[in-house]
């Protein structure tokens, strides 16, 4: 009788001790892994009137601002064309809020063809996605002559 009782008490104490506190566990799998590594920056140029991906071998992914700046410097001698006029000033201010990337371009609306707008939007979106951003993010462009763009923003047609 006594031994049964003490066994019960011991089992109870053991259960309490082992149940409380942290203990070792099995491997658990959870959240999405980080990303953002890339061998180069993805830029979109024009092959005729078709958007074409060109990976510039920069050795790293870089930021959205880097990508747009590289785009503004032009396709170089790769044989591709661009719908954006070459300007000496390529610095682009990038603001990422939830769901929307806002680019303040050093360009006037007249310096960008409609396909050029798609180039900028696709390049910014690609850079954002590759850095782990959501593919549904929209891009809003601000030009030197249009201080504020209304609407929900643009998406890459690709």
């Amino acid at each position: 009788m006594r031994s049964v009782r003490s066994t019960c008490l011991a089992a109870l104490a053991l259960a309490l001790l082992t149940a409380c506190g942290t203990q070792t566990s099995e491997v658990e799998t959870g959240a999405d892994a980080p990303t953002g590594l890339a061998a180069g920056t993805s830029l979109y140029f024009l092959d005729g009137d078709r958007l074409t991906l060109q990976v510039r071998k920069t050795g790293r992914l870089g930021t959205i601002s880097d990508a747009v700046s590289l785009l503004l410097t032009g396709p170089g001698d790769s044989g591709l064309e661009t719908g954006v006029e070459e300007v000496s000033m390529t610095r682009t201010e990038v603001t990422v809020t939830s769901g929307v990337i806002t680019l303040r371009l050093p360009l006037a609306t007249s310096e960008v063809e409609p396909l050029g707008v798609d180039q900028i939007v696709c390049t910014a979106a690609a850079s954002h996605v590759q850095a782990g951003g959501s593919p549904d993010t929209r891009v809003r462009l601000l030009f030197t002559d249009v201080a504020d763009e209304a609407g929900p923003g643009r998406t890459c047609p690709l």
């Binding site: 203990q23 099995e26 491997v27 953002g36 590594l37 993805s42 870089g62 782990g132």
Partner: protein
């Protein structure tokens, strides 16, 4: 151990102990479940926070890290992951803190899981040198512009110390256990109250049972409530009721029997007196007349006289004992010298061979009744024992003692307890003895009437010893 055993024997202490055990178990179970839940939530939340933090740190740093990785970029990622981290790329690795030993410090299970994780973060809680750690392992992914991902071959591991969480959990247990302990005094109070409500009826029942045992058959307990204890009380009351009825019935029957015996004796006395006179007349006539009377007829007349006398004595004894039973016997107490009474008794009956010795203090008694007792005891000794029959007077602190002993074989052990019984005959074959069979019973009743006793025993050397004790100091009148 034994003291605890006996301590637990009381109903009150067992009730209290039971209550406390139940409370401790209940509170313990609640604390256990609560703490378990809370600690799991704590660990879980800390874990997910660590994972989120690592993922955002790596994701923030990765775009500026050269790929394929150089030693420098590996270092860059490791710094981004914080202390106690490890970055593995193909066959190169850079570790810090507890993971400074490289991949060897990471359990194989976790590594395998990270490789096959399909772009997910893996976690495992392990112990390193007795300290709890959370290990987080994750591949770093390559994402193409369309959003599809593939492994880059780079893995990041970090270890996070869980001691702070453990500390929180311990605090939680301490405060929960403290709160649980607070209910203990409450449990004891409730147990004491419950024990009292149970034990009070039990106490009352015990008192009633004790009164019943002491002869107060009218003792009852008022049943309170309608619980099992009230039922028990009812049952005890019923038992007492039926006991009282049975006892009253018995007493009535005994009374009836005694009255009947007394009535019969009274009815017999008058015809017997006439019969005695007639028989004696007849006997006298037959013995004087030397006429032609047969010797047989004379013997018959002689026998008739003897038996009639015996019958008279028997009837008188029955009347006497009926009077003693009914409590109507009159006692004329006076200061009495026992030596005088004994000597007068022996002399009156012509028992000169009986030796008298010793002395006794005076008693307050009815001389006639003491004479009857002594005559009965001595007569018995002379009839059933052998000489020398001796009457010894002595005294104890409270009593005057008269001892009657003889030189016979004594009383058989199986007979000894019954010698004062009514009509008890030691030998059934000797049914026709001159005694009525009531002599010793009457002697014992007479002694009781004086607040004394008559006892029978055997002397060590053989021979019966009857002892009459009467209180030396006059005592208040006995009831009967």
């Amino acid at each position: 151990m034994t003291t605890r055993r006996s301590w637990l024997r009381g109903l009150r202490s067992r009730l209290i102990a039971g209550f406390v055990v139940v409370t401790v178990l209940g509170a313990g179970a609640a604390v256990w479940a609560g703490v378990r839940q809370a600690s799991e939530a704590l660990v879980e939340s800390s874990q997910s926070q660590q994972v989120t933090s690592l993922v955002s740190q790596i994701t923030a740093t990765a775009p500026s890290v050269a790929y394929p990785l150089t030693d420098q970029s590996i270092e860059q990622l490791r710094v981004a992951a914080g202390t106690d981290s490890l970055v593995v790329a193909e066959d190169r690795a850079s570790g810090d803190g507890v993971l400074a030993d490289g991949v060897g410090a990471v359990p194989a299970e976790l590594r395998d899981n990270v490789r096959d994780s399909d772009g997910r973060v893996s976690t495992q809680r392990i112990e390193i040198d007795g300290t709890p750690w959370l290990l987080i392992g994750t591949p770093v992914m390559l994402t193409d512009p369309s959003g599809s991902r593939k492994p880059s071959g780079v893995e990041v591991y970090v270890a996070r110390d869980l001691r702070a969480v453990e500390e929180d959990v311990r605090d939680l247990i301490t405060s929960a256990a403290g709160a649980a302990l607070l209910v203990l005094p409450l449990a004891v109070i409730i147990a004491v109250l419950a024990a009292r409500s149970v034990l009070r009826p039990v106490d009352r029942l015990r008192t009633t049972a004790r009164r019943l045992a002491d002869g107060d058959l009218s003792a009852r307990t008022d049943p309170a409530g309608a619980d099992e204890l009230a039922q028990l009380t009812d049952a005890v009351n019923d038992m007492a009721e039926s006991l009282q009825r049975s006892m009253a019935e018995l007493a009535r029957m005994e009374d009836d029997a005694r009255r009947f015996a007394a009535d019969v004796s009274h009815e017999l006395r008058t015809p017997l007196t006439t019969l005695t006179a007639t028989v004696e007349l007849l006997h006298d006539a037959l013995s004087q007349d030397a006429g032609p009377v047969d010797e047989d007829v004379r013997e018959s007349a002689q026998l008739a006289v003897l038996e009639t006398r015996r019958l008279v004595r028997l009837v008188e004894d029955v009347i006497e004992i009926a009077r003693l039973d009914a409590g109507t016997a009159d006692v004329r107490r006076e200061p009495t010298d026992l030596a005088d009474v004994v000597r007068a008794c022996l002399q009156a009956r012509g028992w000169e061979e009986v030796e008298v010795g010793g002395s006794a203090p005076a008693v307050s008694a009815d001389r006639r009744r003491v004479d009857l007792i002594v005559a009965n005891l001595v007569g018995n000794a002379l009839r059933h024992g052998r000489p020398p029959v001796r009457v010894t007077l002595s005294s104890t602190a409270d009593d005057a003692v008269v001892t009657v002993s003889d030189g016979g074989d004594g009383i058989r052990d199986d007979v000894l307890p019954h010698v004062f019984g009514r009509f008890y005959k030691a030998d059934p074959a000797r049914a026709r003895t001159p005694g009525s069979g009531l002599g010793l019973a009457i002697a014992a009743e007479n002694a009781r009437l004086h607040g004394g006793t008559v006892t029978a025993a055997n002397a060590p050397g053989g021979g019966a010893v009857f002892t009459l004790r009467l209180p030396a100091v006059p005592t208040p009148e006995e009831g009967r």
